[in-house]
Subunit: 342 residues, 2 copies
Amino acid sequence: MKPFVPERISLASGAGGRAMRNLVESIFLNGVTSPPGAVGADAMDDGAAIPLGNQWLVMTTDSYVVKPLFFPGGDIGRLAICGTVNDLAMMGATNVLGLTCGIIIEEGFARSDLERIQASLQAACAEAGVHVVTGDTKVMARGELDGVVLNTAGVALCERVVRDCTLQPGDRLVVTGTVGDHGMAIAALRADVGIEGDLRSDVAPLRSLIAAVLNAVGEGVTAMKDPTRGGVASALFEMAQKSGVSLLLDGPAVPIRHPVRATAELLGIEPLHVANEGKALIGVRPEALETVLAVLRAHPLGRDAAVIGVVTSGRPGEIVLDTGMGKRLLHEPEGEPLPRIC
Amino acid sequence: MKPFVPERISLASGAGGRAMRNLVESIFLNGVTSPPGAVGADAMDDGAAIPLGNQWLVMTTDSYVVKPLFFPGGDIGRLAICGTVNDLAMMGATNVLGLTCGIIIEEGFARSDLERIQASLQAACAEAGVHVVTGDTKVMARGELDGVVLNTAGVALCERVVRDCTLQPGDRLVVTGTVGDHGMAIAALRADVGIEGDLRSDVAPLRSLIAAVLNAVGEGVTAMKDPTRGGVASALFEMAQKSGVSLLLDGPAVPIRHPVRATAELLGIEPLHVANEGKALIGVRPEALETVLAVLRAHPLGRDAAVIGVVTSGRPGEIVLDTGMGKRLLHEPEGEPLPRIC
C-alpha cells in the first residue's frame, strides 16, 4: 500500500517524522534508481555512499530554514555547516573533501545580517576543519521568501560506512551529550519565556568526536544517527524500525539539562521530541562500551555522554521506556513539534 | 577597494552580473580558504575541483527558484538536474558520481505538482545518465515561500579540469546552439505574448555532448562556460575578464531562432542577455575547430553549433561586437534582466 500523502502538503510533511517519511517514500523515492553498489540512496539514510576505489564516497545534503535566523548558541550559518558535517560523520565519513553552499535571499535582506551569517559559517568551517568549496546565490522578490534559506551538501571519504539500520540485539545505546538543547532554545525564544537566557542551542560539528570514537573501536560501533528533527525519540524509532530490533530505553539515564527540562514542562513539549544539532546516538557492542564512553567523555563535545538503553530482540520497531517507576511502550512521535527548527 | 554592496540586498544581487559578483566577492568569498590544491574554489567558477589520487573531484551546487515552475520545454525539476550536470560538464567532469537534491516546499503546495516535478526530475536524470543519491525535504508555512525551491549539488570525476579563465588569443569561440531560448520562453510566458507557443526552453543535459567534444580534441578545448543567468554576453565578459583577453564577437554569426528574435524585439530584451539552460560557450584552438564543430553537429544537442568569435589580445575584458555593418564596443550587462529565471 502506498503511504498516505495529503493532497496539499502540510507542515508535518517536513517535520522529520512519519508524515515526512510518507512523502519521501511515496513521491521522492518513487522510481528512484541508485548507482551500482551505492548504499543508503534508497533508504532515507542521512546520506548515500558510493564505492570509489577501495573507499566510499559519502554524499549528503540539507536545507536550512530555521526561524529566527539568529538564536542563543548559533545561527543559520553555523547550523548549515554543522548539520552537513554531522550527517557525513554519522555515516562514518570524517575525511571531508568539501562542502557546497547555496543561499537564497529575500530582496531587502540586510547586508549586515548576511555578513554575520557568513562570518559564523566560516567560523564553523574552521572549527570543523572543513571548507566550503563552491556556492550559489539567488535572490527572490520581497514577500516571496521569509528572509534567508541555506543549503549545504557535503562530500567525504571513509573506509567503512556506518549506517542507522544496523543495530544488533545486545548493543548499548549511547547518546553523546544532553538532549533537547537546540529545540528548547528555539521554542523558548519563540514563546518569549523568561528562562531563555539559560538555554543555548547545542549546534556543533561532531567530526573530531566521531573520528575519535571510530578510530578507537572501529566495528565496535554498529550504527549511528544524529537526533535532529523529531529529536531522540524519532531517531530511535527510525533506527529500531530500519534495524528490525526493539529498544529498552532507560528514561532517567537520558541526560537533560535543568533549564531544558524546566522549559519543556512550562511549554508542554517533550525534550525527547525536539531537535538536537550537536549530538549523536551510537549503537555500541558491549565489549567496546567502556572505550567509547572514555573517548567521548575526554572530548569537549562528549563530556555528558551517557548509556541510555539497550537493543533487544522483541517486536521490531518497538521501544519500551523504563521510567524508573515502571515500563511502558513509547509511541512514535508525529515528528518535530516546532516548524522551521533547522 | 571593496566592491560595492547595497545595505539592502536587491534582485540584481542574484542576477548573475556585476552586482552579484560584488556580493559574492565582498561577502561570500571574504576570508574563505580553499583545501590544498583545489582549483576554482575562490574564483567564482561554476564549481571547484579537488585533487583526488591522480584525478580531480569536481563539486558544484545551484539553487533553483524559477517562476513559473512549469514552462514550455521544462520545469524546475528538469532545470535542477540539467543545471548541475552542465556545471560539472563545463569543468570537464562528465564522469558523474551522484547528485544531491534538497527541496523546500510551501505549506499547501499541491501533491500532484510535486509528483509532476519529481517525474520530470527523474526523467532528466535518466536522460543525463545520472542519479540523485540523497535528498532533503523542508516545509515552510504558507506565505513564507512562494511555492517550491530546489537545490542540487553534483560530484564528478575528471582527469583534466577545464576552466572559464583560460582563453588564449587565437582561440575560436564556439556556441553549441541557438541563443536566448530559455530566457525568452520564460519572458514570453510572463508577459503573456501571443508568440509564446513557438518558444521553448532549451533546458537539456550537456553531459554526453561535452564528453564527446573532450574525447575528440582534449586540450583543443581551452575554456568552457554555460551562458545561464545574464546570458551569452555576461558569460563572455566573465570569461574575457578572468582570462585577461579581449574578444571579437561576430554578431550575425550568433544563432538565434526566429521566434526568439521576434519576441526579443517585441519585449525589448536583448537575446544575448538572457539565460540559456542547454548551451555551452567553448574556447577552441584553431587546429581543433573543425573536429569540434563536426562532433557538436553530429549530436542532437549541438546541431546548430556555430563559431561566433575569436579571442584577441586587446584590452583585457573588452568585447568588440562586429554587427556586420560596423564594429562597436559591447557594454557588460548588469546581469539577467528577468528575476527568477532559473
